[in-house]
Symmetry: D2
Subunit: 343 residues, 4 copies
Amino acid sequence: MDSRTKLNVGLIGLGRLGRVYARTLATRIPCLRLTAVSDVDAAAVDQVGNELDVEHRSTDPEDIFRNPSVDAVVIVTPTSTHRAIVEGAAAAGKAIFCEKPLSISLDEAMALQRAVERSGAFFQMGFQRRFDRGFAAAKQRLDEGTIGDAVVFRSTSRDPYRPSVEYADPRTSGGLIIDMGIHDFDIARWYMGDVAAVQAIGGLLAYPELGSVGDIDNAIISLIFTSGRLGVVDLTRNGIYGYDINAELLGTKGTLKVGYLRETPLMVMTKGQVAHDTVPFFMERFGDAYAAQLENFAENVLNHRDPPITVDDGVQALRVAIAATRAQQTGTRVEISTGTAPV
Amino acid sequence: MDSRTKLNVGLIGLGRLGRVYARTLATRIPCLRLTAVSDVDAAAVDQVGNELDVEHRSTDPEDIFRNPSVDAVVIVTPTSTHRAIVEGAAAAGKAIFCEKPLSISLDEAMALQRAVERSGAFFQMGFQRRFDRGFAAAKQRLDEGTIGDAVVFRSTSRDPYRPSVEYADPRTSGGLIIDMGIHDFDIARWYMGDVAAVQAIGGLLAYPELGSVGDIDNAIISLIFTSGRLGVVDLTRNGIYGYDINAELLGTKGTLKVGYLRETPLMVMTKGQVAHDTVPFFMERFGDAYAAQLENFAENVLNHRDPPITVDDGVQALRVAIAATRAQQTGTRVEISTGTAPV
Amino acid sequence: MDSRTKLNVGLIGLGRLGRVYARTLATRIPCLRLTAVSDVDAAAVDQVGNELDVEHRSTDPEDIFRNPSVDAVVIVTPTSTHRAIVEGAAAAGKAIFCEKPLSISLDEAMALQRAVERSGAFFQMGFQRRFDRGFAAAKQRLDEGTIGDAVVFRSTSRDPYRPSVEYADPRTSGGLIIDMGIHDFDIARWYMGDVAAVQAIGGLLAYPELGSVGDIDNAIISLIFTSGRLGVVDLTRNGIYGYDINAELLGTKGTLKVGYLRETPLMVMTKGQVAHDTVPFFMERFGDAYAAQLENFAENVLNHRDPPITVDDGVQALRVAIAATRAQQTGTRVEISTGTAPV
Amino acid sequence: MDSRTKLNVGLIGLGRLGRVYARTLATRIPCLRLTAVSDVDAAAVDQVGNELDVEHRSTDPEDIFRNPSVDAVVIVTPTSTHRAIVEGAAAAGKAIFCEKPLSISLDEAMALQRAVERSGAFFQMGFQRRFDRGFAAAKQRLDEGTIGDAVVFRSTSRDPYRPSVEYADPRTSGGLIIDMGIHDFDIARWYMGDVAAVQAIGGLLAYPELGSVGDIDNAIISLIFTSGRLGVVDLTRNGIYGYDINAELLGTKGTLKVGYLRETPLMVMTKGQVAHDTVPFFMERFGDAYAAQLENFAENVLNHRDPPITVDDGVQALRVAIAATRAQQTGTRVEISTGTAPV
């Protein structure tokens, strides 16, 4: 592939995940060139720009929108800024990749959705689990009929560390169920279709210090899909043994289970015990999936293909997450409308 | 141990599990002697009596109650007969082992409980999972503090076959949540203490023919323990791949997972695939646990020890199961009182 | 099955394994009755006889041979006594089950074989691994062609404990390769046919105290089957982590792997680690197989079926074991004749 | 790291592995710049040069040796050319990374070694398994004493496909034991030290067509280390189920097992069976290790560190491989001198 057919990308947001994306965009995706970076932190812009020889550098994303040599933007900024940046990029006619979640407010997410739709811009939602080999292989087996009808969906997400109290603050994170569960709800919809109602229970059981911002650290959410099928998602911040992301599809002819527990291919056997390590955290588990989804984005834009994950997927996953949060808080079942009105 | 110190046991009920118990009582428990069998089916009594050389045989359990050479009774009759037989045995002063569930009616179970308590008879509840090596080892590790505080309990029960429509009829089985879930609810209480409230969802998703008796074939039950801790139980009749009973205790310092998937220690590796068999059904998984709980019963009676599983354990597990059934049917959270009143 | 069709068995030898066999014979095999026990240790005879209500008790196996009510004998005495006891039982016309190995001397084993053949007595060799579910399932899959032609056999035997120096003494045990490897060589022959030549290396690497009797504690034996196929057996006395018996058949279309590492169905996951227990020792791994082979013996005698494991199987496995020992000691390849002459 | 401190590398050899190295060198190693490529195939040079924007391109490695802007060379040419190219690079003062094996002739390998030593050039041997997370973690645990003294080493290498008959020809490949086993022998030496003697058996059991060039397809090699410890390596070309590379270190206090069987984190459970995929081939298993060893090479040269794998490591592994080949062919034990004389 010669350089003329490469997609010129501007990256907006150089936080923890943003820097991982920067290196991935700069070195691992043949059909893509990282030509611009932007962040409110000038030092981060300088550092990443120098390390990766990025041509255009700015502390203002508007500079990227105005740059005619930039074909597409990858947005990894804090969630609260997504709407404004997406709207700016859409107005400038850039192809857009936006990291999850769209917003923690359904109203804001739907406003963003309307702006994208009005602009006609290419928009691809970032849910990297769909690009993980295990989740993708399960989807393929499901579609092939290996397990017959999938009747129950189960998903577990466990972080090995408590986030900072500031990060966990529901006013910015949306709270445990939105912050962690949005991935599970997207996968639930990918495999099983729309969700009709949710129930949820939760508690602050391991990290009482999160109580200062009103968050919980464990939750179990039951899902009733519009088809009548069942689902359950459990979330925890105290997966102390390692980063454990797994899922299951129980069907009428079998079951699919996604998720390794271990990372290093070594077993240690000592007196009376067999042991191996666990997956430390998300880059060890999903590093390849993050790269795969960015490569997929570049190929879609270059080849004029529709995005596999749309802005509506982002809105619908958020709708479930918000309903689940409310169900946990009220102890009641919350019905979900998949129409355009908020839940 | 010489023969004078053996416990003389009468077995009441010679159905599928009853016959397994008969052979176990007759051959595998050194401190016990099977001296009487009873069933309404005279042919079954003859067959088992002859095969195992049982001295006293009857179609009427009253004959066992009246027999002074019988020290203890093991009751494996249909659930609907438990109350009358337990009351008869208690009145006769026999030590009693009664298979789960006590009843599918909480009122009836509590009447049985009062009768046992009035009589002062030794009564041990049958929940064989507590004698399974995996479940017992998890309890021990929990008590030792290996995982810190257990904050979330998860339990899965999957039968590999659909029962007959007659068996599944909720008027006799209590319905899926009581019939299968009673074991999970007992283990939940054993590990985590009393349950304060439940939520449940369910559906008839794999075997539409069960609709003729009004049962469901899949359910997910969320548990809130009185301590505020969380639990989730999922039940299915279409565990088509094998008999899968597993559980997990997630704590603040780690996790305990109970349950093998496989039975025969053989892996078969062919082009692109590694495979092994699954556990076929309950005797392969719990055969040793069934024997262990009967041996434990005999030793408790002979040595005047308290039963590890009481009639109250039977009542409380049933209370949760009935509340969960109602939660599934109504879509609402059901609060559970652990007092003497019905839920 | 009524009592008249039961096989009346006399058990000779009440050491560690002999007592396990006594309880198994007395309680777990419906078609068999333990009617006589014998051991040179009168106290052991009394204890076992009382515990299991055995009718005939003696310190002299001749009493069992002379007893017309005994149909069959099970021999679990020290290896050095096998020949004399087998010859006595054969002369008395008893059906014979003899524990491995026949002898540590090939000449003696062949003399025993000739005596059995002259007498026409029913003789079944004890190699319990053939009755293990995993080893048996692998044999079945091999015969079904699942892996095409089996071209390489691998087998590992690891004891978790060092035996006493007295036990390990090669003058009575035959040394590591015979003592432990006889099982592996029998399975090798069962799966792959006769062995044409062996090479072996070994060392005293973990327990220098075994040097006082001239034994080694680790060995690796290469096998060339008469078909030209390959095999390797590795043996160790320092399997400190647990009792590990596993085997593999590599074929042209796949592979079969036999052997669990774990016993209790519990995984313990703590910070950065997933762990489970290991199989403690042989009764946990092969307890059911021991019972199965005794039941098989009883059924064969009662139903006039040929033994699945013959005295010749005992001789041939010993032939390989002795050749392997010599190969280890000399550093040369040792050719094996499967004829009637010693190697 | 700014561009002035990067290592400028010339890659010689653009075959299958060479192209993988080209992409790795061009995109995944921050401290390195791929500035030159060379291959006898001009079309390959053009294709790779264009795809990766390589500045200097040539069909003659001499052009790379003469190019003062090239700091280091990575040699992935056919084994028979290693000596001449290494000598040319060494004479030109380039830092050298050379893929395994050095040669299939011990004389030639030692001549190469002398040339490297005379020139004083930096030389790093390519054995990528040492950079695999599993093999490296086992080495670390071994050094930490987790398993006490390692007394037995086991290693298995299985390719999922037969190579072409031309490739397998022992005149160029060295035959199965050298071609596949060189990795196992290097790891054996890394963990256990020098090898004193070998025994080997082998056969042509799965692919008779390899007989036309005189190769075998299965082999088992026993190793006696100079310490008296034991080892065994088994090699097969018919690992039809997948690419299976595993190893074990049995010690006096435990065991270390290296090697996954599976690649995609998905289990598929259908009636009576649990299955998952296998590792397809070497890039899925060792792709990261290949990149890690090239990055390590670049960092060593830039920072004037000694190579972790020396030319002598290449010579010694070859010495064992050649001795093992001879042991298999002659049926005798072959003693190994680790001095400067050929075996």
